[in-house]
């Protein structure tokens, strides 16, 4: 039983998070009928399974919520923000009580009864107002019967009944039955008279007035009857449609009564069938859930396979046996595809976090009495799951800062001549081998002077220090910095942005901040696509192999080693410009014999153009990243290591950090 209950809890958590996200969506667009359906459906399944596994409290609360949404669905009640609020609170509560089935915790028990009471109050008022609500003139499809008997003289007025039929058909799906009983024998026909009567079954969302509009100019010359047959779309029921088409062949008048009774018969029979498939369709399983450890294991195995593959390729190359080479090449193709596939499986869209973000902004802005529109763009952008796991907290923190410190209070905004409600935009997009997430608010921005003053008072910088505007703003990434004038419960405990920066850097990301006073702040996070496999360039320095991330390599030059001076850094004229070059043999203290030629590699570095030297470039290499553990964990000039085809280990350089640290070292030696 325990096992079953556990599986219920997993299921319930999933349903509740679905529910939360639909509710938030619904909160933004209260007219969305689909959302109501979706909410109702989720609640219904939750109620069902809760009851089945003996979670009676969960089941009871869900039942009451369901009642509200049922009446909304039926059109007896109107939705309000109040209802959304209470439902969200109930969802939060349900998340707790699925772990506290019998309400053992007294606070849970209290909240539970409060919620039940509030919900009952709402359901009560729904029932009262139920009758007053007029039937909405919405997009519901209805079926009409239209009888049109044109006068015989109609052609003489320049009208053609066929045009009316075309106009009717344009309003929706239709079946036209022509009654030709009055058509005389061919000898007696007067060609310019009209003998035919039309009956039309029309399914449309338009009102009766609009249908009448079709006959506006011929009202006097035709007999027209328009009746509603049903509030449903009868033509979508196949049996009705076939019968109508059969009647058409008879070519005689059917009459409203016949059709009405036929419709009533079919309607009762098949309405249930119509409703059922639509709800089944959406539950269809498009994906399966897999424990993330299994995926980690899969990725590990793939990494091993890639490594073994590299070894096989090496062996094939050494032995020159055609069959072996063939096999090895084939294996390589398969491995590559398998790797790409597995890699793809581990990608998760940013969407999975969106609900949490929406919820935070919503709750927080309510609490702080600010009105904020949170807009997300590009949330379908995918990132490796290990990155997604680690990026959530930093982003939550940034959003919290935006809502709390960024967006001003309403009065203040109006005073500044801004829109009353603030806007926070979260935008994600790909660029090269990185993914960018930008969080932009149109709030007060950051005042560099304020930051400076604060930093001086906190002793982070010296009083006489001169800082550029950017440097001043970047002080907020320093540990122990908090700019909020008073500490709120929300943010401003001084453990803010420095932790954000550190967390993002731990997944090899970068965070930058731009801010214009009174106009807003933009925080950009740059993230690698994946942490597990990178495209690299295999190089040799001294006796060791190293991997440079291909994304950081700009250009390679070859130079005679004797032309290089001794020392860690020097300037070398390359491509007509004098570029700083770091000699990595010196930096790494390699003692063995120098090669005749040295390769100079120009690196993409944020701050200035810079080069490094390596002894030789071996080629491109798919590097499976392995973390440097234990004692080497704190080394950030190497982002990891990879295993080469011959089983030895090559270190993967983090060029930005390596160059930064070498620059500092050179600067220190100059002083």
């Amino acid at each position: 039983m325990d096992h079953l209950q556990q599986s219920f809890i997993t299921e319930a958590e999933e349903l509740l998070s679905d529910l939360e996200s639909v509710l938030l969506k619904f909160g933004m667009d209260l007219t969305n009928k689909e959302s109501v359906e979706a909410i109702f459906r989720v609640m219904h399944s939750l109620k069902g399974s809760a009851g089945m596994f003996g979670f009676s409290q969960v089941s009871a609360l869900t039942h009451d919520m369901e009642t509200i949404f049922d009446s909304i669905r039926e059109g007896h009640a109107t939705i309000s923000q109040e209802i959304i609020d209470i439902t969200l609170r109930s969802v939060d509560h349900l998340k707790k009580i699925i772990h506290d089935r019998d309400l053992v915790n007294p606070s849970n028990c209290k909240v539970h009864h409060e919620l039940l009471a509030t919900i009952n109050a709402i359901t009560g008022s729904c029932a009262d107002s139920g009758n007053k609500v007029t039937a909405p003139v919405s997009h519901q499809k209805r079926t009409y019967y239209i009888h049109c008997k044109p006068s015989q003289e109609i052609f003489k007025t320049g009208n053609n009944p066929l045009y009316f039929i075309d106009d009717l058909a344009a309003l929706g799906a239709s079946v036209v039955i022509a009654d030709m009983n009055e058509v005389p024998l061919i000898n007696d026909i007067t060609p310019d008279l009209c003998y035919t009567t039309f009956e039309t079954i029309l399914v449309t969302t338009k009102s009766v007035e609009e249908i009448e509009g079709v006959f506006l100019f011929v009202k006097d010359s035709c007999e027209i009857v328009i009746e509603k047959i049903s509030d449903a779309d009868l033509l979508s029921i196949s049996s009705f449609e076939t019968q109508m088409h059969a009647l058409r062949l008879d070519a005689c008048s059917v009459g409203f009564k016949t059709i009405k009774s036929l419709a009533a018969q079919i309607e009762t029979k098949s309405l249930k069938e119509v409703v059922a498939p639509s709800s089944v369709k959406e539950v269809q399983v498009a994906s399966i859930r897999v424990a993330s450890e299994k995926l980690d294991e899969l990725m590990n195995l793939i990494s091993e396979l890639v490594t073994s593959q590299a070894r096989l390729s090496l062996l094939a190359e050494q032995n020159q046996i055609p069959e072996l080479s063939n096999l090895s090449e084939n294996m390589e193709k398969i491995t590559r595809r398998l790797r790409d596939n597995a890699f793809n499986i581990c990608l998760i869209p940013l969407q999975t976090l969106e609900t949490r973000f929406q919820r935070l902004v919503r709750d927080l802005s309510k609490e702080l009495k600010k009105e904020i529109d949170f807009i997300t763009e590009g949330v379908e952008t995918e990132l490796d799951k290990s990155i997604i796991e680690k990026i959530s907290d930093p982003i939550l923190h940034i959003l919290r800062n935006c809502v709390d410190h960024g967006i001003e209070l309403q009065e203040e905004r109006l005073k500044k001549g801004k829109k009353e409600s603030g806007t926070i935009v979260m935008k994600a997009f790909h660029s090269g081998t990185s993914v960018y997430i930008q969080i932009k608010d149109d709030g007060g921005g950051i005042d560099p002077e304020k930051i400076k003053a604060k930093a001086i008072s906190k002793g982070i910088i010296a009083e006489e220090a001169t800082l550029s505007k950017e440097d001043a703003i970047n002080l907020i990434f320093t540990a122990g910095f908090s700019t909020a004038e008073k500490i709120t419960g929300v943010s401003g405990r001084g453990v803010g942005m420095d932790i954000v920066k550190r967390n993002i850097e731990s997944i090899h990301g970068e965070v930058t901040l731009e801010s214009t006073l009174h106009q807003g702040t933009t925080i950009s996070i740059k993230l690698p696509l994946t942490l597990s496999i990178i495209d690299g360039m295999l190089v040799k320095i001294g006796g060791s192999d190293y991997i440079l991330p291909l994304s950081s390599v700009d250009k390679c030059f070859e130079i005679k080693t004797e032309k290089l001076q001794a020392g860690l850094s020097q300037k070398v004229a390359l491509d007509g410009t004098l570029l700083p070059v770091f000699n990595l043999r010196e930096a790494f203290n390699e003692q063995n014999e120098k090669p005749q030629h040295t390769q100079i590699i120009k690196i993409h570095y944020d701050e200035f153009p810079v080069c490094i030297t390596v002894d030789s470039v071996i080629g491109e290499y798919q590097a499976v990243m392995k973390p440097l553990t234990g004692l080497y964990r704190s080394r950030d000039d190497f982002s990891g290591a990879t295993i080469l085809g011959d089983g030895s280990v090559a270190l993967v350089m983090d060029t930005s950090k390596l160059i930064r640290s070498l620059t500092l070292k050179v600067q220190a030696s100059l002083q």
Partner: protein, 162 residues
């Protein structure tokens, strides 16, 4: 009978230069031949580098230099003991190059004598005690203390300053 099995513990003995050392077998995961060790530039001398341990990257230290003995070339007897030790509240796996691995022997904790505090040519803080066996003294090591907080801090500073 049960008490004796509880108190008897297995120790692995190994050699560094001419001295014998012992460590609790529970700390030793496996013993490897020395593969190609990849040097990590700008590291302290006692850190030999990293090796490929069935697909994981394992840091390797040189026990001789760590213990203040002179450096020598690796021999056929040299091998890597893969150890699981605690460092700053965390358990880490690390390899240690030793000159030779000898045998597993049973030692009763009561037989471990306190190490003489003076006259020892080794850094004393990680020696748990001495055991006498066949007229020779074996030094019992507390491996958790071999990599001290001090070392971890030095490493941290090196990477910050370098």
């Amino acid at each position: 009978m049960e008490t004796s099995t509880q108190t008897m513990q297995s120790y692995l003995t190994f050699r560094l230069a001419e001295e014998l050392f012992a460590t609790n077998v529970s700390k030793v995961l496996e013993i490897l031949e020395i593969p190609k060790i990849t040097r990590v530039p700008r590291s302290p001398v006692f850190m030999r580098g990293v090796i490929n341990l069935r697909g994981s990257v394992l840091p390797v230290i040189d026990a001789r230099t760590k213990f203040g003995l002179s450096e020598t070339k690796d021999t056929v007897d040299s091998c890597i003991m893969v150890l699981e030790i605690k460092m700053q509240e965390q358990t880490i796996t690390i390899g240690a190059v030793v000159d030779a691995v000898q045998e597993v022997m049973e030692i009763t904790p009561a037989d471990i004598l306190p190490a003489p505090s003076i006259g020892s040519k080794y850094r004393g803080e990680f020696i748990e005690g001495m055991v006498k066996s066949d007229e020779r003294f074996i030094m019992v090591l507390d491996l958790d203390k071999v990599l001290s907080t001090e070392d971890a801090n030095i490493l941290q500073q090196m990477s910050d300053a370098a």
